[in-house]
């Protein structure tokens, strides 16, 4: 590849901008000192024209208003690293890239169509490879990411949490790590029931995932009920353990690939939509094609749908009973910015009579959950939660609708009652009701 000039400086690298003794050594204008093979796709990295349109969409820029905490500054950091001006592990470069919550809101507004998600994932994977998390954090990562991929381990862990919560022992945990969601042992034991009804359509697969399958079983059941009521034959099997979204997020791309392959294999030989009720998992699974680059992965990704893509507002309106509630609607970033669901989920819920949904006035800025981001970057995570909390309060609603478990747990930390769209739909739709 041709190495782009540092900071797109149009000058031939003759006299630095400020000549003389005042220029500190090793500034961005210094000649290349490190030569390493590029980890970035040169064309992707070259795509940004540094126009800055992305700034106001970026949640972390909105917290500090520092360029290095915005997409333009992060791309510049990657370019400096790529050109060898600063190492990727420079404390400032690393901090700039690791504080990205990966909400991908910048991609939605980018006029130059920069694939920021791909770039930041490459950078984070490389940082994790060069400087893997150490000490207690390293141990927590190894155990945590291992457990996510093994249902029995995760189940044991969640059961432990439930017992801790029951005995109020979870209070010893620091605030940022303590899950706000109350897990009940009863919920853990609860099985899934395939709803009865007339099957006018083929099978639809409810993707159970890792954390959702332990802590949000009622949501999965609701998805199945909704699918059943519009004539699908909902299935809870196959049940691959984890899609690997959190692994990708944390720069553990090898593990993520393995889990993606495992997931695709599990659904081999089946046909029909794979319905995902977690915006983050749905986004990751729709990008399996991108992650693995195989025709099987592409074909699999094409089958992945959000609930709002298989159910239409008309189908809801034809069957729904009123739910007289006023709720704030929070659009999860990975549904809005990656899956680009737009107003689909909102339109679906608005088909429920007497249900009032209010959109907060915060331009859908990320709530700061970001997988384990709220734990890893508590200053940003808490700042964003405060912003989200304030904008939700301004709606005057008493509860929140959110279609992502990470967002749900984050927002619940501020004391909000969270409803999953699927649960509201299931409550409103009579199984096999009038069409």
């Amino acid at each position: 590849m041709t190495t782009p000039e540092p900071i797109d400086r149009p000058t031939p690298p003759e006299p630095p901008a400020v000549p003389g003794p005042s220029a500190p050594p090793g500034t961005a204008t210094s000649p290349h000192t490190v030569t390493e093979p590029s980890i970035f796709d040169a064309d992707l990295l070259a795509q940004c024209v540094q126009c800055g349109f992305c700034l106001s969409s970026c949640p972390t820029y909105e917290v500090t208003h520092l360029e290095e905490h915005g997409p333009r500054g992060r791309i510049l950091a990657m370019r400096l690293a790529d050109a060898g001006d600063l190492p990727l592990t420079d404390p400032d470069v690393k901090e700039s890239l690791e504080t990205c919550v990966q909400c991908r809101a910048c991609e939605l507004v980018c006029p130059s169509l920069v694939e920021f998600g791909a770039l930041i994932e490459t950078a984070r994977t490389e940082i994790a490879r060069r400087e893997p998390p150490r000490g207690l954090r390293g141990l927590a990562h190894r155990v945590g990411f291992f457990a996510l991929a093994r249902r029995s381990w995760l189940r044991a862990g969640v059961a432990g949490l439930a017992i801790m919560q029951l005995l109020r022992l979870d209070r010893v945990l620091p605030d940022t790590v303590r899950p706000a969601r109350r897990v009940r042992l009863r919920e853990l034991r609860r099985g899934y029931q395939r709803p009865r009804g007339i099957r006018t359509r083929g099978p639809a697969y409810v993707f159970r995932g890792c954390v959702m399958d332990q802590m949000f079983r009622a949501t999965h059941q609701a998805v199945a009920d909704v699918l059943g009521s519009i004539g699908y034959d909902p299935r809870f099997e196959p049940a691959p353990p984890c899609c690997g979204a959190l692994h990708t997020h944390a720069g553990r791309e090898d593990q993520a690939r393995g889990l993606a392959q495992q997931t695709i294999r599990a659904y081999a030989g089946t046909e029909g939509p794979i319905v995902v009720d977690s915006a983050g998992c749905g986004a990751a699974m729709k990008e399996f094609g991108h992650l693995l680059g195989t025709p099987e992965a592409e074909a699999f990704s094409a089958r992945v749908v959000d609930l709002s893509e298989v159910v239409t507002p008309a189908e809801v309106a034809a069957r729904a009973r009123p739910i007289p509630l006023e709720l704030a609607y929070q659009a999860p970033c990975h549904g809005r910015n990656v899956q680009r669901l737009g107003d689909l989920p909102l339109a679906l819920l608005r088909a429920i009579p007497e249900l009032t949904l209010i959109e907060p006035d915060d331009e859908h800025l990320c709530c700061g959950s970001g997988g384990i981001y709220s734990i890893e970057q508590p200053d940003f995570g808490n700042a964003l939660l405060e912003k989200k909390d304030a904008s939700l309060q301004r709606t005057g609603a008493r509860g929140v609708v959110s279609g992502n478990p990470g967002c749900a747990m984050q927002i619940a930390r501020a004391g909000w009652e969270i409803h999953h769209p699927a649960e509201l739909l299931a409550r409103a739709m009579r199984p096999g009701g009038p069409v």
């Binding site: 349109f53 106001s56 917290v63 400032d92 700042a383």
Partner: protein, 511 residues
Amino acid sequence: MTTTEGARRRPWARRAAAKAGPLPWLEAGSGLTDRERALLTAVHGLVGDDGLRAGELGRATYRRDASFLNADPLGVALPWTVEQTAAVVRACRDHGVPFTPRAAGTGLAGGATPTGEGGVRPLVVSVARMDRLRELDVTNRRAWVEPGLVNARLGRAAAVHGLRFAPDPASQIAATLGGNVSTNAGGIHVLTYGVMSQHVLAVELMDADGVVHLLDGTAPELAGIDLRGVSVGGEGTLGIVTGACLRLLPAPPSVGTMLAGFPSLRQAAAMVGDLVTSDRLPDAVELMDARAVGLVEGYANAGYPIDAAAVLLIEFEGLPHAVAAGIDTAEALAQANGATSVTRAQDAAERARIWKGRKAVAGAIAKRAPDFFLQDVVVPRSRLGEMLDAVVAIGERERLEILNVVHAGDGNLHPFVLFDRREQGVLDRVFAAGHDIVTTALDLDGTVTGEHGVGIEKRDFLSQVFSEDDLAVQRAVREAIEPSGLANPDKVLPSTVGCLEARMVPEGAWV
């Protein structure tokens, strides 16, 4: 008038911005001069860990705005309040270090590029953190804003009350109002609503002594010398805009949009002249040439006539019957000027589709070339056809693809010069084309910028726009308001001491 509420920022945000540990760039051996170290130490004392960046990455990210012109700053200070800003500015004065005001850095002329006279690196002072809407006065249709408030956010806040803020530069989703005031920004609706200056009632301008002056006031008409007018478009050379009172207008009750295709650029340009001199003045007239249409249509499928040499987007706002009459007039004039196709938007969806093409230009370019250089020149409407032909010729001569997107109603051209900066020597050709576009506009009795500002990019052209006498008065005004010369040096006014400052641009280039 100053702000105090900004100080009550959440502790989380301040902690997120601060980084623990020593400040290695302050230590001996970091290459700082004594003066630079003394200033950084003083500023650090004023704004704390979360308000100062002077490390390599921090400085690199503030080298430039959205232009290609860049220089190494001493550091960047990010005050949370007007008081902190004043203290930082006073520290700069006390140490004799210049400062460059900045907010979102979406400017295209290098106005926020931290150049300093005599090789002294300036301190960038970012006002991005002062981003509140201080007051929205619906009855009197005005808003007091802080400089870091994003343009589109004021628009959204106003829309709740049936009001709008008219200046709508393409960068409005991120560009801040302080920057809009400083560059006298424009947008699509300049034709009827005018540029930023028409929408600024009062400016709070902080001079290089850190003193805030309220220029003009909220009354509709004030007597006396219009200092507000002087400060709008100052690009930071008169001090820092720390607040402004802006005019809001009622949102239009209805909108009508039309798309017309023409067999030649000249016919489209003639249509623009006829339309603007008719008795129905449209609110927006945008022109795109065949190259732009071809690229956009292939990418966005907006339904543009790809066989046309130029298309015009025409929009009327106002009462429904006035809008309908305007569209009728425009259609008749389009037919008279030989339009090959005329489409009227029947509903909001069709209107959105027509605008989609215009807004997709940058995205369409991204699919063709990774970089573009966006020019900004103005010619009299009567010379629009000549100018467009000249741009085509310049593109052919420099072997560069140039798309023409024009705010045609006011003769404001935005040629996009496409390139890939990784191609050897391409920048010389890009800058040569840019230079020729500007000189051609001047030859056609036009001017060097419509809305992007002068910054560094257009600075040395000003002597061709204004008489020496005029420039001397401009310098005298600047020296009267900002005698220290520390506020954003090197910008707007041509240097009297020759071209020694043109150091961040290629040799033989035009800035």
